[in-house]
């Protein structure tokens, strides 16, 4: 801990000439710290802060057609327009929440179950782990096209399988009502392995003694899981949940690859991300798109803060 020094200053707030403090190791170290940080700060400033501020700035203008075209400052008009849009914005926000909550919930439950199953070594475990990470390694667009072919209502293999066991064929991604649930299941297929691996890593760090003590006390498997393992795993679980939730909120590639612009013919899979992309690249409404993206970013930050607070409470 460093004590704060009070230095003599003039009324203008500047040091009087000739009254420079001595150069100490600590002071030099403090300056060196900034020099070492400069490349990283420069990168963050250029690649994150500047685009964010640029987008924020665009959100207050009527930018249309080209980003560098003449534009006027219109204050909060874009934000008001977005928030008053019950045809596209709010349904897209609702779908974003439904998709994220639904997919992440299933992924967490399945991921936890698989992690518990794989906790103890068994024959062929390396094979199982390798197979498990295959969906993670595949690019989302390829996954989208793959599932589009599998689930094609006319020529896809999924309906052939359903018919072969006497079940009626489904429209899957071709249906307005089935599209979002189908996309959630595709997301579950791709991302459950990540949850499994994260939770498996968390489980491997847990001490065995508390569980063994509970066993000696007569606790059954469910009780040991519910009252011993889960509380100890909670920090890992919440971290995995935050990471996956933020990622799921931002899902774009699979949605666009399978449903195209606007999330399908009835906007049935249009999330905020897809909506903002459409505003930018299909409609060239850069001002409105920026406002939607700012609102979306605030929403994501809100979700993260909420989840962190919840995690903090539970840990406390």
């Amino acid at each position: 801990m460093t004590a704060t020094q009070t230095r003599p200053r003039t009324t203008a707030g500047r040091r009087p000439p000739g009254n420079r403090p001595p150069r100490t190791f600590e002071q030099a170290n403090r300056r060196l710290k900034w020099a070492m940080l400069a490349p990283a700060l420069g990168f963050v400033g250029l690649m994150i802060v500047f685009p964010l501020l640029f987008t924020l700035n665009l959100g207050f203008t009527d930018a249309f057609g080209a980003v560098n075209a003449d534009k006027s400052w219109i204050g909060l008009q874009n934000f008001q327009d977005a928030l008053a849009d019950s045809r596209r914005f709010w349904p897209a926000a609702q779908r974003t929440v439904v998709f994220t909550v639904g997919a992440v919930l299933i992924e967490t439950v399945l991921g936890l179950a698989l992690a518990m199953l794989m906790r103890k070594a068994f024959r062929g475990m390396r094979w199982v782990r390798t197979i498990l990470i295959i969906p993670l390694l595949t690019t989302p667009v390829a996954i989208g096209i793959l599932w589009l072919l599998i689930l094609d209502p006319t020529n896809g293999i999924a309906n052939h399988l359903l018919e072969s066991v006497g079940l009626p064929p489904q429209e899957f991604l071709g249906s307005v009502s089935q599209s979002l649930p189908t996309l959630m299941l595709i997301d579950v297929w791709q991302w459950t392995p990540m949850m499994t691996l994260l939770l498996l890593a968390g489980l491997s760090t847990l001490p065995e003694e508390p569980e063994e003590a509970a066993k000696v006390d007569g606790a059954d498997a469910w009780q040991r899981f519910r009252h011993v393992v889960l509380p100890m795993l909670w920090p890992t679980l919440m971290t995995a949940l935050v990471l996956r939730s933020v990622d799921a909120l931002k899902t774009f590639d699979i949605l666009y690859a399978t449903k195209g612009p606007g999330g399908g013919s009835d906007f049935e899979a249009e999330t905020l991300n897809v909506y903002a992309y459409g505003l930018t690249f299909d409609y060239q409404e850069y001002g409105l798109a920026s406002a939607v993206l700012v609102l979306f970013t605030l929403f994501i930050i809100g979700v993260v803060v909420l989840l962190r607070r919840r995690a903090g409470k539970k840990e406390a």
Binding site: T2, S175, P261, G264
Partner: protein
């Protein structure tokens, strides 16, 4: 070694914020002021961005002769239509000089690109060159290349809808349907959806289906706009919506609202549908035994007539333009002049790529590569055709989304008139805003 952590003071934060704001403002100002400057190095290639299309492949195979003439390498990048549009958005928003010749969809992008100042004025080069013969281009494609009196693109590939049908199935009806009513009746009769056979297949996606639906609309006597106002809730438009929706809803495959060309075409190619209306340029897919089971039974017919006759679209599906920020505009024009010359268009058309020059169409030798009935259907459709297949506005994407809404309702079996009236009001509002965007600031 000690560490210290000092919170950022209000003053430091203020300074940081001021610097960031200045950077944003500066960035905005710089991007607004960005202009073309400098010259290209002698070794720089002429960069062409093109759609992944048979035309691009054919040109790519011939480009050596042009390279020799202009003394510069030609680099052709081929992308899908969506990728191409996104690339232009990114590159030209940054006033990029790394693209010289742009392959554009005149009806989709030209008005917007012209509004943004992204296209070079080619008027003097096209009209002032007697050997090039600008007047030789067909009326509809030529008119669509001109915006505010300036030639901004040159059409290289044209497109009309063709009625693809199964010859073996229509024999009992005495031939393919001549009217849209006949098309619906025959589709209903031939469909056996329980056994996976469909009467009609076609595009059903909200935005993607609009261009094919336009021929139905015109043939019912309607149009997207009349006197600058929305006309998508007129009785003619509603009848067109209902007929197209009914064809897919009552006789089409499941999941039709998720179908674009990529999903619809294989269904007909696999022999699972009796009729299919789509661009005549894709006919080779049905003659290729590797992907088609109907190469011996597919027939081609002109677009069926509606109450207003047969009024298909006849449009420049792909055109060439020069990037306003290009440093090689003379060479870029040389490329376009060569690729759209009367000789080149005739040569490409003889290989099955329909061009936009009247001289090529009047030369029977250029049509020998097409099946005889397709060539005849193309000729008739070109004669009857209208020069647009989507609303002629700045924001074509948004307009298509609005116009396509009643179309989707029809395919889903919902009542069309109410949704068409709602879409009509939305389209009217949109047209007002679109016109406002067109006004100079």
């Amino acid at each position: 070694m000690s560490t210290s952590s000092q919170p950022v003071s209000r003053r430091s934060f203020g300074k940081l914020a001021a610097v960031a704001a200045a950077a944003v403002a500066g960035g905005s100002a710089l991007s607004s002021c960005a202009t073309r400057s400098g010259t290209a190095s002698p070794g720089a290639p002429l960069r062409v961005m093109a759609i992944n299309h048979v035309w691009s492949h054919a040109i790519s195979g011939r480009v050596a002769e042009l390279e020799e003439r202009i003394g510069r390498r030609v680099s052709i990048t081929m992308l899908t239509a969506d990728q191409l549009a996104s690339s232009y958005n990114v590159k030209l928003n940054a006033s990029g000089t790394d693209v010289d010749v742009m392959m554009v969809r005149a009806l989709q992008e030209q008005l917007l690109f012209a509004h943004n100042g992204w296209l070079t004025d080619l008027t003097d080069r096209a009209r002032g060159d007697t050997a090039y013969d600008w007047a030789d281009f067909q009326d509809a494609p030529r008119e669509r290349s001109v915006t505010d009196g300036r030639v901004l693109s040159i059409p290289v590939v044209t497109e009309r809808p063709a009625l693809y049908y199964r010859k073996d199935l229509v024999e009992e009806f005495g031939g393919p349907p001549g009217t849209l009513e006949d098309l619906l009746e025959m589709s209903l009769e031939l469909a056996d959806r329980r056994r996976g056979f469909f009467g009609y297949v076609g595009r059903g996606q909200r935005s993607g289906a609009v261009s094919q639906w336009s021929s139905f609309l015109y043939s019912f006597g309607g149009d997207f706009t009349v006197d600058g106002r929305s006309a998508i809730a007129t009785p003619q438009a509603i009848a067109a919506y209902e007929l197209y929706g009914g064809l897919l809803e009552r006789t089409g495959p499941p999941g039709a609202t998720n179908m674009s060309l990529e999903q619809a075409m294989p269904i007909f190619a696999q022999g699972k549908a009796a009729f299919y209306v789509d661009a005549d340029a894709i006919y080779t897919n049905f003659l290729d035994p590797k992907i088609s089971t109907v190469q011996d039974t597919v027939g081609f017919a002109p677009f069926p007539a509606g109450p207003a006759g047969s009024r298909p679209h006849n449009i420049p599906s792909w055109s060439l333009a020069v990037n306003e920020f290009s440093l090689l505009r003379d060479d870029a024009w040389e490329f376009i002049r060569w690729a759209s010359s009367p000789e080149m268009v005739a040569s490409l058309q003889a290989e099955g790529i329909p061009g936009a020059r009247s001289s090529a169409w009047s030369d029977r030798a250029t049509l020998t590569s097409f099946p005889a009935d397709l060539a005849e259907a193309m000729r008739i459709n070109a004669e009857n055709g209208l020069g647009h297949d989507r609303p002629e506005v700045l924001q074509v994407g948004r307009a298509r989304d609005i116009v396509g809404r009643p179309l989707v309702a029809g395919i889903l079996g919902k009542s069309v008139p109410g949704i068409a009236r709602d879409a009509n009001a939305e389209f009217d509002d949109f047209l007002v805003r679109d016109n406002r965007h067109r006004e100079p600031r």
